[in-house]
Symmetry: C2
Amino acid sequence: MSTTPTAGARPDEVRQHNRAVLLRRLHISGPCTRAALAAEMGLNRSTIKALVDELVGDGLVVERLPAQRSGAGRPSLLVLPQPHAAVALAVDVRVEQVSMALIGLGGEILNRCSWSLRPETRAPGEVFTRIVDSSAVLIEEAGVAIAAVGVSAPGVVRRADGMVREAPNLHWSDVPLGQWLSEALGGRRVEVGNDAELGVLAEHLRGAARGAADAVFVSAGVGVGGGVISGGLPLRGSGGYVGELGHMVVRPDGLECYCGSRGCWETEVGERALSRALELPEGAARGVIVAELHALAQNPDEVLERLGDFAEWLTIGLCNVVNLLSPQLVVLGDLFTALPRTLLDHVGGLLAQRSLVSRAMGGTKLVASSLGGDGKLLGAAELAFEQVLANR
Amino acid sequence: MSTTPTAGARPDEVRQHNRAVLLRRLHISGPCTRAALAAEMGLNRSTIKALVDELVGDGLVVERLPAQRSGAGRPSLLVLPQPHAAVALAVDVRVEQVSMALIGLGGEILNRCSWSLRPETRAPGEVFTRIVDSSAVLIEEAGVAIAAVGVSAPGVVRRADGMVREAPNLHWSDVPLGQWLSEALGGRRVEVGNDAELGVLAEHLRGAARGAADAVFVSAGVGVGGGVISGGLPLRGSGGYVGELGHMVVRPDGLECYCGSRGCWETEVGERALSRALELPEGAARGVIVAELHALAQNPDEVLERLGDFAEWLTIGLCNVVNLLSPQLVVLGDLFTALPRTLLDHVGGLLAQRSLVSRAMGGTKLVASSLGGDGKLLGAAELAFEQVLANR
């Protein structure tokens, strides 16, 4: 994330750069002593002191004694980000609900709301209006000003202007959500990203993929989406169109997918496929599916009997992802976090048998997301914070 | 490729950095006037003059009048890299042959040799011995010293030490090729990379994907391999294990593949699959396959009749690649360059129908490699030059 100033940078540019790196460090990794910051950033302690003093003066951080003392001697002060000093409005538009939150510097959620979407309330204009109304309520309740806005959308998004090109599960096509929101929110820049990209960004910065330079996040809801961290950065692809992992074909003679292909990963391992595999009634609610998976997990012997075919399609997709992208670990999100451990162990075993990249790397870890339902909100907030932190 | 010096760089570091960027610019993009270099690099003309004078003094570049005068007035001198000033030994180990070349600064091939491999001459020790012997001959014939060594290998390679972990088509497993060559060549560092990664690097720097920040290269020989340029850099994955595009599963009920999967892209669109699709005798030589494809291209009406199924598997793999990586263009190499245009147009049409990413981007260009059989050699040379140029 951090950039280095170019050759011949003036001293004030260097200082500005170091200040931004320091603020970002505190925002992402949390409270830290000055001594540890100096060691981590390779700057001397007087430089760190001057930068921290400046940030304290600007109200962006505070210094405080740690709640618990460790060891003898005088405890070191901790430098903490001040949540209210910079607040992002984060919006997570999903197929079945919209969640919104005000997220402070440091990643704390200050206030939140959400509502369900049904086919008749999914029209772009209606969703947009409710987002604008709800943001006014959130802001008033919390008594804060917002510094930036980030939105997660379940589809192909043009990053430059926040145009949602195709969000097939929402039946949206060419919806200028970024522009609409920007105009409604006083001309403020609004960053819109693909949900899977923001999901992996959040896992990389604050979740199960923290510290992993190469990771893949795959999550299943109505759709199946995935994002990729490669060399420490989100893979964005040309024009900001990130990859649509859910639309890999894993079963050429499988069901028709709205995308134009047949037997996409989404069609074979998404919510509807999981419901079919469990022999639940068509249209079973997510809660019913999760409950059934939890019940099944109590009977490990039955897991592969009932979900053996499902495991096969999950494996083929993961095998392709691992062979193409060679991640250190794969983070599973949403419905996938409810899959029984027996099933994941089975899939992990097949992966090691079938993927040469996985074998060469000594296996591939499959881990559940640690961010629960908040991953995409946190990712959307980070999209917003990127701009803010560079200029504070 | 270029890096910027870190904040607080000393003037000599800045100068060294600018010198390396300038040399790399001349190496990759060829002759240029000082004025154009100044404009391109954003440096003033006296700085460029000083750097060029230094490079001339070190024998790395020369200044010369252009061969053809354009317009009136005094023509500007061109700055040209001197091929003999820094020479890389490049080695391309393939399943059916080994090619070697001495490649000079600027990318010119100064001398080359190659030999065929058969199952009985593919043992790692034998290939290694012949590479060492041939390098001595090449170097003596050309009368040059080599500055660095780069090797392309058709398998999973650990970049840190040039260990070929698995090259299944060669039946190699854990061959320390980098270390062996380094010891045999006087302790010089030897960079070993995966052939597909080097193929895409060459296309990006010197071939059909020049200037494309997001591109995929897919080539078919005995195996099918692919490399990815993402955001202007080769995608390397964790531990330097680049993606194995050829081992995406495109046909779960297809033929068994040596990698442990079934119906890999390689199994369905590689040399043997193409030979089967054309109903040629088993084990038909590559020349026979290419001749048959060229003959078929003369009868566009027959192309899809004979290669319709083949086109389907090619499409599914490309659809997956485009949906995952959203490249601006896909460069096709080796045997794929012999596919009839009718077939590629058909595949391009299916791609636009079936891939949401391709549709969002207004289609995906499929272009043939412009480097012929030399792509991987040129890529291996660039791997070697990366080190050299940073220190000259």
